[in-house]
């Protein structure tokens, strides 16, 4: 199909961009790694999680932060393409229009997973261990891929509508902060009433708890379904708004 071939060609182009400026992958991984070091070696001693290794407890939340920081580059890259006029060239060519967006989405998935692998590698050096089998790892990858897809489509909206490059990537800040008010860093039981209620009902807690349970090789339970529901729901809503923004933007 021509749309798939177009997406493949255009994805090759944006992947080449990333391979020529690998700094975006490095900076994407830098902040999560800094959080990992800070929390494990500075604050970790004072945090009581009731489990063994704090790195192992912390990693799922750090992976969510990695995804949030990675998709902000997707918004940035999309914004630059719109600014440079190269989108208009593609749009005046016999190229499937959704492919122009999908190429950025696929690129975002690839770039995010490279950053995630880098963060996991650092965590392994710091003592992260998992007893998860192949099935559990595939489950973890699946959840993270779904979350990346949802947040990428969310990032497409500011990428298409922002009026400045800073504006395009700033949307990620709240996403990066969300894990702090969840079970990512400390168990929610330690939080005061309303904060605890929020933490227990926001998507990051369900996602982090599912990933943590899968990595620990244990059973996941209802958290997994709540996490999947959040991801699919966010994906559907973000996709609809992103497509609407795209149609408004191009004639």
């Amino acid at each position: 199909m021509t749309a798939i071939a177009d997406t493949r060609i255009l994805t090759g182009r944006s992947l080449r961009h990333i391979s020529r400026s690998p700094d975006t992958i490095i900076t994407t991984a830098l902040m999560p790694v800094a959080f990992l070091l800070l929390f494990v070696y500075v604050l970790g001693g004072a945090i009581e999680t009731g489990t063994g290794s704090y790195v192992t407890y912390l990693l799922p939340g750090i992976l969510v932060i990695t995804i949030a920081s990675s998709v902000s580059y997707t918004a940035f890259r999309l914004f630059l393409d719109l600014q440079s006029g190269i989108f208009e060239r593609f749009h005046s060519m016999p190229v499937s229009r959704p492919s122009v967006l999908w190429a950025h989405v696929v690129t975002s998935l690839v770039a995010t997973f490279v950053s995630l692998a880098a963060v996991v590698a650092v965590a392994l050096v710091m003592g992260f261990r998992s007893s998860a089998g192949l099935g559990a790892w595939l489950g973890v990858i699946g959840i993270l891929a779904l979350l990346t897809l949802a947040l990428t489509w969310l990032a497409v909206i500011p990428g298409l509508t922002a009026t400045s490059a800073d504006g395009a990537s700033a949307f990620a800040y709240p996403l990066i902060l969300l894990p702090f008010v969840s079970s990512a860093f400390v168990p929610t039981e330690s939080m005061p009433g309303p904060v605890r209620w929020f933490a227990e009902h926001q998507p990051v807690t369900a996602i982090v708890d599912s990933v943590r349970a899968l990595l620990a090789g244990g059973s996941v339970g209802s958290d997994l379904w709540i996490a999947l529901a959040w991801c699919v729901g966010m994906l559907a809503v973000a996709y609809a708004f992103a497509m609407a923004a795209y149609r408004r933007r191009v004639a």
């Binding site: 060609i9 182009r13 080449r16 961009h17 020529r20 440079s84 006029g85 190269i86 060239r89 005046s92």
Partner: protein, 255 residues
């Protein structure tokens, strides 16, 4: 699609940005294989018209067909027939010049994209620079690459929005030669320009867009005939297009 239909046909085309009416009923016909220059002051709406014809913008009213296809009803067919060099260069800075051309060739499904790219690089004096990132190119080199990218796949109608702005005289002559070669090969070219000299040398027909309408459309000789006779007698030479332009534009203003 009939072979006899004009390459571009525009009837009573209108477009406004909010309250600002830019095109107020544009009529234009471009025969196949011709070079037509669209002249107009800054803000006259040349880019707006080109964007509508290349399916980037929807008109508020009126009909425009390119290569026999309605731009609003069959944009995909129009896109297959055209290419656009916009007013601002649309090249990929991070890729090399050659990779830019190969990308367009692959998207247009042109067989042998590498060979097509090399031939165009040579034709536009970019063979040496082809392996370098476009981010390192000078303004004129970017513009030449931009034009070269529009020629990939030999589209039957080419839109060039101020193609030679920022080119040095030599590069401008090269670009003109490329445009003329296109028309000789049967391609239709609609170009906008600020340089009246360019229109005078290059175009078979000249259309002047002023206050939302095409106020003059004809060959250079037809346009020259519009100039009042005393000027011809007094200077004892053919009036330049610049004089014609200022006369017709100024004339409209006073009326």
């Amino acid at each position: 699609m009939t072979a006899r239909a004009p390459a571009i046909e525009v009837r009573d085309l209108r477009h406004s940005y909010g309250d600002l009416a830019v095109l107020k009923g544009v009529d234009l016909e471009v025969p196949r294989g011709r070079i037509v220059a669209l002249l107009g002051s800054n803000g006259a709406g040349k880019t707006t018209l080109v964007r509508i014809l290349s399916t980037l913008l929807r008109a508020d009213a009126g009909v425009a067909t390119v290569d026999g296809h309605d731009v609003a009803a069959s944009p995909a067919e129009v896109r297959a027939a055209i290419s656009l060099t916009g007013q601002l260069s649309a090249v990929d800075d991070i890729l090399t010049g050659r990779e830019n051309l190969v990308l367009v060739a692959r998207l247009r499904r042109v067989p042998g994209p590498g060979g097509v790219a090399d031939a165009l690089l040579a034709r536009f004096g970019l063979a040496e620079a082809g392996a370098r990132r476009v981010g390192t190119y000078s303004g004129g080199m970017r513009r030449r690459l931009d034009i070269a990218m529009s020629l990939v796949g030999e589209p039957s109608v080419v839109f060039l929005d101020e193609p030679t702005t920022g080119l040095d005289p030599e590069a401008r002559r090269e670009a003109w030669a490329a445009v003329r070669a296109l028309a000789d090969g049967g391609t239709t070219v609609l170009l906008t320009t600020q340089t009246l000299d360019e229109a005078e040398r290059l175009a078979d027909r000249i259309a002047i867009l002023h206050e939302g309408r095409i106020i003059v459309d004809g060959t250079l000789d037809e346009l020259r005939a519009l100039i009042p006779a005393p000027t011809v007698e007094y200077v004892e030479r053919q009036p330049t297009l610049e004089e014609v332009f200022l006369a017709v534009v100024g004339g409209k203003d006073r009326s």
